[in-house]
Amino acid sequence: MSSTTTTMNQFSTFRVADQLFGVDVGRVQEVIRYQPMTPVPMARPAVAGLINLRGQVVTAVDLRVQLGLPPRAEGELPLNVVVRTGEEAVSLLVDSIGDVVDTTGDLFEAPPETVSGPARELISGAYKLEGKLLLALDVDRAVDVDRTS
């Protein structure tokens, strides 16, 4: 780990079920408020629907489903964290948006033992911030709806 102590990382943060997650800012295209969605019957459960992002059709993946968490309460609208994967954009549905956080490699640790289940597969590790824990999300796994979950 000592070799990474000097690396600075910027994370775009958001909350899902009161857990703080972060995605490398380089992967985030934009963050937008709730968008009406068109459901896609027969799609995987994690596919919440399709949104119209300025004329582009973007698939919205619900992180609650991906993380194996219970659904949002009635009337609670998710926000979109639009990330780039390969050539296309995918929206990750989250509960609320946080700040952009600077971290350094020395704060990084492997996924804590307390994180279990599907969530463990989706995070690459945790950053011990002051008073809170930032879980670093593996974007490519997070948008993979074919994972057995």
Partner: protein, 808 residues
């Protein structure tokens, strides 16, 4: 090779390939119209251009071979020689040789080595025969020089020379302005001046060193008027502008990007316009309307830049048809209608191969040899017609031949042999359906594998390729009269006409190309009209059984079974895919509109039933259904045709509708007899039946009526305890037979029949009548069972009976 050279070579290749296609077409046309100066002029110019540019690029083989061809052509054009088959063949070979060299140049960057001695010699020798008498002495000398020039690259000084009959060598040095038609040529074409006057003027230019332009010399000689020269000069400059100045080459990728952006603009426009309509701001509304108009025009304009006439693809076909005709010993005339019909370049590329395959097929399998045609009372020359036209936002292409047509019996037998259908399925199929089986994978009608077709690339590949670009293909054929293959493809892939509808609260779209018709059912019709046949819903559409698919069931939003509650009202979207029709049950049809197709993300690729998404006027996303996959996943288009359900749909495809008599046979079999074959219904006491030899008869109207018990005829035992029997009397040509049945049920019009003589069990097949499986009696075989001689003396009224000889 420097970069600049490379670029020039690329340009040359692109241009030459286009020119060669034009050459093929012109030469084949010339064979029919050997005297056409216009065609000869065009061919001459093309070869001249190739020769000139190849000289400039130091492609010596290309230059020398095109040079000899040019000599021959210039003499043909000037009427010194006439174009006969031999010369046409040599010129076509020349085109091939040029193409081969260009191909080599394209792949290796060099000419390569080609043995052109034989071709060069042949072309040179064809300069000879009728040259002596017709040409002036100057021409004869020049002709000799031309032959010499074929071997050595042409020398000669660059002079502003026109091109008379035989001034080939000097011309070779004018390679850089190939499109620049020479003034002398134009005047000759206009017919304002004789070749000899031009020659005289040229001689003055070249020999006497007169430096005035040729037009001036000619006016001076009194050969033409000044007005004629100025007209010709105008023609000359127009020609130059149209080729060089008014067109540019654009990378297709750039057009693709432009097209996408315009697609976005159209969507944004839709949103702005629909938003503006809700606000009461007049200025905004006016601006929105203006935007609407401009965006539409822009969209149309950008789409046009990608449009190319289908003639570009057809250009290769005359040559193919000609060569194939010679190879297969067929006389074929190729006619083309609507070559100017335009479609998107991408689509044009995609239909090229299928089209070529279909044309080859038509020549090889469709059109007969001249002898066969004459024997069949048709003209020796077959006609192959290509027709293209726009219709409801689609391009229609027809390939029609007046050949032997497709024999449904042969197709049926082949499909059976290949295991593509079962005998029972075949028995209930309609003729169009049987004929369209040629598109099934693993089918090939070629009785013998020829070197033309039968190379494993079948009609199924044609269909797959057409369907890949959202098109459809089907065939109609009249045995002995010919076949017509119809291809329908969208104008463009990015923006397609579609119909939108609602199901379970969401909007979906289906490409118009798959749509056959829309049927709207009110609550009562929905309840009564949709019937369930072994848990599969069907709808009677004008006497046919249309298999139905509930979209909400396909989408997993409700269960598909007989317990479904009838809804208020619903709509049937009748679709065609894979050569079959089915009805998609949706809640409500919304609109017919142009939609911009958006690709779906990776997360949705595996589902299959969606081909993309689009954005509607109000900014929402709507999914586009993949009709073929919806059909396949719901089972109505099961590839193996193994579901009883599909059989019903097969039966349903027959358009015929006639009255049927429904009778009971044996214990519980229900059978239909076409009412037209029923003369009378009678009832006899069992005691009245007498025996003659092994046959049963009754006395009836002073005659002996032979009887056949349908139950035993069809392998059942009838109930012997009855006192009275029901008899269906069939009379024809003075003879009568009685078909003994257990019960007369009903006469119905609501039916569907399939006719086929392929089943030997005494049945023509089965159909679903009033929700019950009903067998269709083969009346002829039943009649013959009662009276083997029945049809012996009967007048041949129906063609269906012409096979009676087989029974005697």
């Amino acid at each position: 090779m420097t970069e600049l050279d490379d670029e020039i070579v690329q340009e040359f290749l692109v241009e030459s390939h286009e020119n060669l296609d034009q050459l093929d077409r012109d030469l084949v046309a010339l064979e029919r119209e050997p005297a056409s100066r216009e065609l000869l002029g065009s061919v001459f110019r093309t070869i001249h251009t190739i020769k000139g540019t190849s000289g400039f690029l130091a492609l010596h083989q290309l230059e020398s071979v095109s040079h000899v061809g040019e000599n021959l052509l210039s003499r043909l054009r000037d009427g010194v020689l006439t174009l006969d088959t031999e010369r046409a063949a040599a010129l076509l070979d020349l085109v091939d040789a040029v193409r081969a060299i260009l191909g080599c140049l394209e792949t290796t960057g060099a000419e390569g080595t080609h043995d052109l001695a034989e071709l060069t010699a042949r072309l040179a020798s064809l300069l000879e025969p009728d040259a002596a008498g017709a040409a002036a002495p100057v021409s004869a000398v020049a002709a000799a020089a031309a032959v010499a020039a074929a071997v050595v690259a042409a020398p000669g000084a660059a002079t502003e020379a026109a091109s008379p009959a035989s001034a080939a060598p000097p011309e070779a040095a004018l390679p850089i302005q190939p499109e620049h038609e020479l003034l002398g040529e134009i005047l000759l074409e206009h017919g304002t001046v004789s070749p000899s006057s031009v020659e005289a003027a040229l001689l003055e230019q070249q020999v006497a060193g007169d430096e005035r332009p040729i037009g001036e010399i000619l006016v001076d000689h009194g050969a033409v008027s000044e007005k004629q020269v100025s007209e010709a000069l105008e023609t000359q400059s127009e020609g130059r502008r149209s080729v060089a100045d008014s067109t540019i080459r654009v990378d297709v990728d750039l057009l693709d990007a432009l097209m996408r952006q315009v697609g976005e603009l159209v969507l944004t426009r839709n949103q702005v316009v629909s938003q503006a309509a809700t606000l009461r701001d007049t200025n905004l509304l006016r601006a929105a309307q203006r935007l609407n108009l401009i965006a539409s025009e822009l969209q149309e304009g950008v789409m046009k830049t990608r449009m190319q006439p289908i003639g570009n693809v057809w250009a290769k076909l005359p040559r193919i048809v000609r060569d194939l005709g010679v190879a297969c010993n067929r006389q074929v005339r190729l006619e083309m209608e609507g070559a100017e019909t335009e479609l998107d370049k991408t689509l044009l590329e995609a239909v090229k191969d299928p089209l070529t395959h279909l044309v080859r097929n038509a020549v090889d399998h469709g059109i007969e040899t001249a002898e066969d045609r004459l024997a069949a009372g048709k003209p020796a020359e077959g006609v192959l017609t290509l027709r293209a036209f726009h219709e409801s936002g689609q391009v229609n292409i027809e390939i029609r031949d007046d050949g032997q047509g497709i024999d449904p019996a042969r197709v049926g037998a082949k499909a059976l042999e290949r295991g593509l259908v079962t005998r029972d399925q075949l028995a209930v199929m309609s003729t169009p359906e049987i004929v369209n089986m040629i598109f099934l994978p693993g089918f090939s009608t070629a009785a013998a594998v020829t070197n033309v077709s039968g190379r494993g690339v079948g009609m199924d590949v044609v269909r797959t390729n057409i369907e890949k670009i959202g098109g459809t293909v089907d065939v109609a054929s009249v045995p002995g009269r010919g076949s017509t293959i119809r291809i329908k493809i969208p104008l463009t892939l990015a923006i397609i006409p579609a119909v939108t509808f609602q199901c379970a609260g969401e909007r979906y779209a289906i490409p118009q190309v798959a749509l056959v018709e829309l049927v709207s059912l009110d609550a009562e019709e929905a309840q009564k009209g949709i019937e369930w046949v072994s848990e599969a819903p069907v709808y009677r559409l004008r006497g046919r059984l249309l298999p139905l698919v509930y979209l909400d069931a396909v989408l997993g939003l409700s269960a598909e079974d007989g317990t479904r509650q009838p809804r208020e009202s619903l709509s049937l979207v009748v679709l065609q895919a894979d050569g079959r029709q089915f009805g998609l049950v949706v809640d409500r049809v919304l609109d017919s509109e142009e939609i911009v197709v958006k690709p779906l993300g990776r997360q949705l690729k595996g589902i299959g039933i969606y081909s993309g998404a689009t954005i509607t006027g109000d900014g929402a996303v709507a999914l586009i259904l993949d009709v073929l996959n919806v059909g396949l996943q719901s089972g109505v288009l099961s590839a193996s045709r193994d579901r009883a359900f599909t059989d019903a749909s097969v039966v349903a495809a027959v358009e015929e509708r006639e009255s049927l008599l429904l009778v009971g046979v044996g214990e519980d079999r229900r059978m239909s007899i076409p009412l037209g074959m029923v003369t009378r219904l009678e009832e006899f006491a069992v005691s009245a039946i007498e025996r003659v030899g092994s046959r049963e008869v009754v006395q009836y109207r002073g005659q002996i009526l032979p009887l056949v018990r349908l139950a035993s005829h069809l392998g059942n035992y009838s109930d012997p305890d009855r006192e009275r029997v029901q008899v269906v009397v069939h009379a024809e040509g003075g003879r009568s037979v009685g078909l003994l049945v257990e019960a007369i049920h009903d006469i119905t019009e609501e039916s569907v029949t399939g006719r086929s003589d392929l089943d030997s069990t005494g049945l023509l097949g089965s159909a679903i009548v009033d929700n019950r499986v009903t067998e269709m009696l083969d009346v002829r075989s039943a009649v013959l069972a009662a009276d083997p001689n029945f049809f012996r003396n009967a007048p041949v009224e129906q063609p269906a009976f012409e096979m009676s000889g087989a029974y005697s």
